[in-house]
Amino acid sequence: MNYLTKENGLLSWLLTGDHKRIAILYLISISFFFFVGGSLAGLIRLELLTPQSDLMATDTYNKVFSMHGIIMVFLFLVPSVPATIGNFFIPMMIGAKDLALPKINLLSWYLYIAAGIMILFTMISGGVDTGWTFTTPLSTHYVNTHVVTTGLGVFIAGFSSIFTGLNFIVTIHKMRAPGMTWFRLPLFVWSHYAASILMVLGTPVLAIALVLIVLERTVGIGVFDPTKGGDPLLFQHLFWFYSHPAVYIMILPGMGVISEVVSTFSRKRVFGYTAVAFSSVAIAVFGFFVWAHHMFIMGISNYAVLIFSLLTMLVAVPSSIKIFNWAFTLYKGSITFETPMLYAFGFMGLFTIGGMTGVFLGASGTDIHLTETYFIVAHFHFVMVGGMLMAFLSGLHFWWPKMTGRMYPEKISQLAAVVTFIGFNLTFFPQFILGTLGMPRRYASYPPEFQILNVFSTAGASVLGVGYLLPVLYLTWSLKYGEIAGNNPWQATGLEWQVQSPPLTENFPEIPIMDHEAYDYEWLENQKEKEVASVG
């Protein structure tokens, strides 16, 4: 008997309060939207194979990259790790039976679905072509596409995210098992705590910005309209006040995954636990004071540019604390190369490149040269795809045995990890070069001398596509034919690994008492010896 078999029927899933089932619902839905967004990315790369705009008209191209961005950011990246792996494992890691607010958790999934349907509906009925940033006055005055319905869709998706974050914060504060002190929490929980703060404080500002866009378009209130004295730049301030922290909402949970995976597969406590924990919080705090670096060329004052440039570079400090500490965790560890670890290595390499190029863009001088070019595109894809998606796949493989009770096939998934890594680099590394050479983003056509690098990029995208399709196939296969996993296939120390797989509906037969530090592999060995002794 486990959470999957306890009740049957569609209704038992649609009305469930169980965080594990809601996580599965989320996993299915975000995977769907990932492949919708991914297909749009495929179309973009296909169009850019040739210098002319020949596959689609330029305004169709605008719609395709806009919908790609909107779907990937709001319907995949923001909920990706938190709403699936976080939802499933935060209660188990802290020794609780469920999240504090199960109904709110379910409501968040329904809001997500409502948002998804609205955005899909918009896409089918003609799409939106403002880019995912809804920049004014383009979005309010100059385009004639479905800005209002898309904006409302994103607004609703925002509430889904707020509820997830709020639920996590309450759960981590109030539901920890006896003995589970703040500094015994797995770092996965710390990074989700930091991301949740961003969700709760940032998302409402995006919500009001979108409400104002909708009002401006429908009623014409003038708040972003210069002819009535409004300021289009105000929208950018409101939008980026959320949307810059949002990139930390996207990356922080991924960093949490990497901490767990790196520790487990080097069989060492994470080096500098406290520093890694506080670096998550530091990223969340700094993250709120860097938004104007998206506006360096948009006429904000020179002093603001200076200050925001400095603050932006400061975010690199806590990020590199993490990278260095993971490296030190590996040092003299007993490293093994299972699939989650391969993805984690991918993350560390690609995120480092993505993060470092972020410093180039934070430096206002180089930013003026590089902004609105493919350099930007390459930079945030290194962080979001090379970083977050790698972390998501790493976590998915790592916890798959616990979620389903079955192992994924190791050899082919290692292959998929390598294919993803190669495909990713082939797709996005040429874009750094294209950007420095001056190829602008968001155009369907480009000068012929850029073609060779674009061909590389498109070829890489095809490899990447294979890398993403493989897990869908073998993970589905493993649901029925995978090896039975057992309770703790990785010999990991988290509380979630000490109970049966798949877990019971209420996670633990009785609430555990945490009597050791996090990542205490000696404790785990002693436990095993005790068990052997008691059986013998």
């Binding site: 609780a96 039976k97 469920d98 504090a100 607010l101 199960p102 709110i104 707020i162 709020l166 639920n167 914060i169 309450v170 759960t171 504060h173 109030k174 539901m175 709760v200 404080l201 940032g202 998302t203 409402p204 500002v205 919500a207 009001i208 910005a209 104002l212 009002l215 009623v219 014409g220 209130i221 003038g222 708040v223 009535k228 004295g229 409004g230 300021d231 105000l234 301030h237 409101l238 209420e506 609430i511």
Partner: protein, 250 residues
């Protein structure tokens, strides 16, 4: 934590069984109450951030277009605003008394205070409707055949003119009154929307309270709704001076 819930919690522990309103995933009722209360405070934090966007816009545009904001503000009837402030503060008092009655497990009193809060909420909305209607008649609804007549030629609006003797604004400044009225409608409208949601929940609560749902020691819902109601009240306490009281006496 009130005395009554502490008692309920203590009794539950003594008998090793849970009160019926304790959800299965909480260890104790105290934990449940703590968690839901904390969640409500966090939710109110998101509300502050939500209204924060509008307050930011207000701050910037008021700074840029001060004369337009002064004359726009003169169009509001300070009497109605004051009356509404009084109504809301009273409703916060009745709501607080409602929470107290729930904690004291006095059903009749709880229903009475909830009904009073409900009615005061309706009075507030009624007065707001009167004010909105007046704006409609004077063509002061932004984006909706908006007219700057009262600002380029204040004498044409004798009621306001006799009180404030405003000088005519140049046309480009007068046009910015539309931004003032947009902020007025957006901020009070968003506030009114929160009132409507609150009143709807109050209606639901009155029925539940009559059935005795909140007077058995399970006061969390009433308590959390009280927090929400006070929050909406506090938003108005900021809106009233910001919108009604700009430079009344120069």
């Amino acid at each position: 934590m009130s005395d009554s819930t502490a008692v309920a919690h203590g009794a539950a522990e003594a008998h090793h069984e849970h009160p019926p309103y304790q959800r299965h995933h909480f260890e104790t009722y105290a934990q449940q109450n703590d968690a839901t209360n904390f969640a409500m405070w966090l939710f109110l934090l998101t509300e502050i951030m939500f209204f924060g966007g509008l307050f930011t816009a207000y701050l910037i545009y008021r700074n840029w277009y001060y004369p337009a904001f002064v004359q726009g503000s003169h169009q509001l009837q300070i009497g109605w605003g004051t009356a509404n402030t009084a109504v809301l503060i009273t409703s916060s008092f009745t709501m607080a008394m409602g929470v107290w009655s729930a904690e004291m497990r006095r059903k009749g009193l709880l229903v009475l205070f909830l009904v009073l809060t409900f009615l005061l909420g309706l009075v507030f909305l009624g007065i707001k409707t009167i004010e909105y209607h007046e704006k409609y008649e004077k063509h002061h609804i932004p984006g909706f055949h908006y007219s700057v007549q009262s600002f380029v030629d204040p004498a044409s609006d004798p009621e306001v003119y006799n009180e404030y003797h405003d000088k005519p604004l140049p046309l480009d400044m007068a046009r910015h009154t539309e931004l003032y009225f947009f902020l007025y409608f957006a901020m009070t409208g968003m506030h009114a929307l929160h009132m409507i949601i609150g009143i709807a929940i109050l209606g639901f609560m009155i029925f539940r309270a009559r059935a005795g749902a909140y007077t058995t020691g399970h006061v969390t819902f009433v308590e959390n709704f009280g927090l929400y109601w006070h929050f909406v009240d506090i938003v108005w306490i900021f809106l009233f001076p910001l919108l009604y009281l700009i430079s009344r006496h120069q």
